[in-house]
């Protein structure tokens, strides 16, 4: 009797195991053989969303599967990140998000996930922060702003799109570096800050490039300093813009938009996904999309992308 029980147990375990191996094997061999889903944690029509849609078109060509962009919004990006954390780790659900949109909430807010819940597939777009002032302010570079701030302590205003964002970090690093007393004003997103800058209502503002590139081209606004290199921006005169490094701050503040998957996704699936996303990111038509977007795309595959995320996390903790 006892033997029989053991036998059934062993048998059922074997069957379950076989099924598991069978399905896993199938998944590996055929991945992707079903519709892929890219979760974008922001509303349609925004920057991350437009990158996602351009990327999805190319991924469809490479994978031969339909690629859906799904905007799971709410909780300032939390809902979308959770949607992938709670999804099956089969590689069919991935999330496209900005690096700082993931690390900043982990550092500054109480979010129910950490970087350990995800695996990096790769970064496709790197856009640094930049500090912009209305041309009427008359600043030539950030040094002028520092001088003006020292001449009138507590008077100058520096807008940021929101608290705990890459642009807030950029402002904080520079203010600490020069020991200046300026008022940091949080706006509710990029559009109202853009309006305040064009209307010359704040002395300067920090945004993520290429927001306001058109105003810079038209001479209405001026870039004072960038959070990282502007080499790949589609506007010659800005490509050699001074960065934080030129101001003696050894940190790059960029928003790298990239793709992540569930932490339990099998390595073989991740490798295949890196192939698909990487191929899409390096394709000609994705480069053409870059012309519209104002920046050349990049391709930072899995491991190195995750390393960047770690350094960013460290930078944010240093100012917490």
């Amino acid at each position: 009797m006892k033997n029989l029980k053991t036998l059934t147990r062993v048998l059922s375990a074997a069957v379950v195991g076989a099924i598991c191996i069978g399905t896993a094997g199938e998944a590996l061999a055929a991945y992707p053989d079903n519709t892929l889903r890219i979760v974008v944690p922001w509303r349609a029509g925004g920057g991350t969303d437009s990158v996602g849609r351009a990327l999805a078109t190319e991924m469809e060509k490479i994978s031969g599967q339909a690629v859906l962009v799904e905007n799971v919004t709410g909780g300032s990006g939390t809902a979308g990140m959770l949607a992938v954390k709670n999804a099956k780790p089969d590689g069919y659900t991935m999330v496209l998000n900005g690096s700082a949109d993931i690390t900043a909430p982990i550092v500054f807010k109480n979010v129910p996930y950490s970087m350990d819940d995800y695996k990096c597939v790769g970064g496709v777009y790197a856009t640094p922060t930049w500090i912009i002032a209305n041309a009427e302010q008359g600043y030539k570079d950030f040094g002028d702003f520092v001088e003006a701030a020292k001449a009138a302590p507590g008077k100058l205003s520096l807008g940021v799109t929101a608290l705990g964002t890459p642009d807030h970090v950029t402002a904080d690093l520079l203010i600490k570096k020069y020991g200046i007393d300026v008022r940091v004003i949080p706006f509710n997103g990029g559009a109202p800050l853009k309006k305040a800058l064009i209307g010359n209502q704040v002395n300067a503002g920090v945004l993520i490039a290429p927001v306001m590139l058109e105003e810079v081209k038209a001479g209405v606004a001026k870039v004072l300093v960038a959070g990282g290199s502007l080499k790949s921006i589609k506007h010659g005169p800005l490509q050699s813009m001074a960065t934080l490094k030129d101001h003696g701050i050894d940190q790059e503040i960029s928003m790298i938009r990239g793709v992540y998957m569930h932490k339990d996704t099998p390595d073989a699936v991740i490798d295949k996904a890196i192939e698909i996303v990487g191929g899409a990111a390096q394709s000609q038509s994705f480069k053409d999309f870059g012309d519209k977007f104002g920046f050349d795309p990049v391709w930072i595959p899995g491991k190195s992308f995750c390393e960047f995320m770690k350094s960013e996390d460290k930078a944010y903790r240093s100012i917490k």
Partner: protein, 505 residues
């Protein structure tokens, strides 16, 4: 400028272009009429289909949708008391009573005419005064916007049905709902109970479909089993006459004025402007007691104001790349996807496109009126149907609406909760509309008030230092004092009445 616009009219007048505008208009009317579906949502869904089109063709459809969703929203307000869009909530105040009196088609007709008047006048104003409007958009500061929204809230508090106390309570509940989540200035979590989804606030569209969609279905549940027998064939198809429209010029003129001004100021939107228009027209009226009982002016004012924002929002969007409301924010994204660079250079780099949009907006207004007047017959047919075949659809669409905003299930629970609370309040004759109003204007006031103070480094005098602000501040003060005065007088007369009754008994 005129030359460019005329060229654009020649281009857009081709049948293929007009066809696209017409498609957009028909779609917009339907999307607007369905509670829970909104104009930004419709534009987003259509975007992938427009990828292969030229940017102008894509925007011809988008303009059609943008203009006629505004009108479509009022159709559901009038027929079912369930506004299809947030701004249409105001139209139900007089639209639904009018429909109950058997004059549904007349109400729909007034709504269509009001929308058309608002849309057309605002188009003319927008095109004639481009530099002026973009200057208003650019130089309006947070302090101005805060005062404008406070003025709106004060004006509305004066016409809430039942008592002012209930109205104020409703507004406060709305403000409480709106204050859930991270506060922008200090980054402090409010009323989120540690729940990460609540940290970014309560989804506004969920609150709206809850209070207006689900609560209305629950309240009107006794109508199941019968259609509206109030619509008789005879009065069924009466449309407003032009003479009536002209006689009521004040209502739509005031409505349009608010629409254009509020539309030009980014960050307020038509959800707020309709209420200000309604309150002003009501206080200007010779018989304010008719409002809320089916007064056509009460339909004309909000509808003209709602569509009056379309011209106002276009100018900052096209000349500065600044969105005035949710729809224009999505449109700016659509421009980028179509390879255009919205911003101060758009007018010079893609002048044909800019003028094409303005020409499409003009046609969209005309098509909206024509399509609406033709389709009133079909909408009336819906009203005649048994409610048991309408209510399930409303519930389905409210749930879809709550879900689709974020593609997330949590807002659906919020909508259900708001629906039940709304039903309980409604059953006790509590003006639910004031809750929604607090939720609409609350965040606008808080954000801009605090931003205004951040601009001035905490100096409160910033709210009276310019002439427009001083005037608005004075206006608000007069409104509040007058309200208190009237309140005290009413209290005294009722207490006298009670005394008298006491003596008699």
């Amino acid at each position: 400028m005129i030359e460019g616009l005329l060229d654009a009219f020649v281009t857009v007048s081709a049948p293929s272009h007009l066809g696209l505008i017409l498609i957009g208009t028909v779609l917009g009317l339907l999307v607007g009429a369905l509670p829970g579906l909104s104009s930004p949502m419709a534009i987003i869904v259509l975007l992938p289909i427009t990828y292969t089109m030229s940017p102008l063709s894509a925007f011809e459809i988008i303009m059609g949708i943008y203009v006629s969703t505004k009108l479509g929203g009022s159709f559901a307000s009038i027929l079912l008391r369930t506004p299809g869009t947030p701004a249409a909530a105001c139209t139900s105040l007089d639209g639904f009573p009018m429909a109950q009196q058997g004059k549904a088609s007349l109400a729909l007709g007034y709504s269509a005419m009001g929308s058309f008047a608002g849309g057309m006048i605002s188009w003319i104003v927008a095109v004639s005064f481009v530099p002026l409007i973009s200057a208003v958009a650019l130089h309006s500061e947070p302090a101005d916007i805060a005062l404008l929204a406070i003025a709106g809230l004060t004006m509305v508090a004066s016409f809430t049905r039942a008592s002012m106390i209930r109205g104020m309570m409703g507004v406060l509940i709305g403000l409480m709902i709106a204050s859930v989540g991270y506060d922008v200035q200090d980054g402090i979590e409010r009323y989120s109970f540690g729940h990460p989804i609540l940290a970014s606030g309560v989804s506004f569209s969920a609150v709206l479909v809850g209070f207006f969609g689900i609560a209305v279905v629950l309240t009107d549940i006794d109508m199941v089993g019968r259609g509206s027998n109030l619509v008789s064939e005879k009065v069924g198809m009466a449309l407003p006459r032009l003479g009536d429209m002209l006689r009521r010029w004040k209502a739509w003129a005031i409505g349009t004025f608010y629409g254009v001004v509020v539309g030009a100021i980014p960050g307020v939107g038509s959800d707020g402007s309709v209420w200000m228009a309604y309150a002003t027209v009501r206080s200007q009226s010779k018989n304010p007691e008719n409002f809320g009982k089916g007064e056509p002016d009460g339909i004309l004012a909000p509808e003209s104001s709602n569509n009056g924002t379309t011209g106002g929002t276009m100018i900052p969007m096209l000349t500065l790349g600044i969105p005035g409301d949710g729809s224009t924010a999505v449109m700016l994204g659509a421009m980028i996807l179509h390879g255009l660079q919205p911003g101060v250079t758009l007018m010079t780099s893609s002048a044909d496109f800019v003028y094409g949009i303005l020409a499409s907006l003009f046609y969209a207004n005309i098509f909206m009126l024509v399509v609406a007047l033709i389709s009133i017959r079909f909408f009336i047919a819906i009203l005649k149907r048994d409610r048991s075949s309408i209510f399930p659809f409303i519930l389905v669409f409210t749930v879809i609406g709550a879900f689709a905003e974020d593609n997330h299930i949590f807002p659906v629970y919020i909508a259900l909760a708001c629906g039940i609370v709304g039903y309980l309040f409604e059953a006790r004759k509590f003006p639910v509309v004031t809750i929604v109003l607090g939720a609409i204007l609350g965040p606008i006031i808080e954000y801009n008030l605090r931003l205004g103070l951040a601009y001035s480094a905490g100096d409160w005098t910033t709210f009276v230092t310019t002439w427009p602000r001083a005037i608005m501040f004075g206006g608000i003060s007069i409104l509040v004092v007058r309200e208190f005065y009237l309140g005290f007088r009413r209290m005294r007369s009722t207490s006298k009445l009670k005394l008298k009754q006491g003596e008699e008994s």
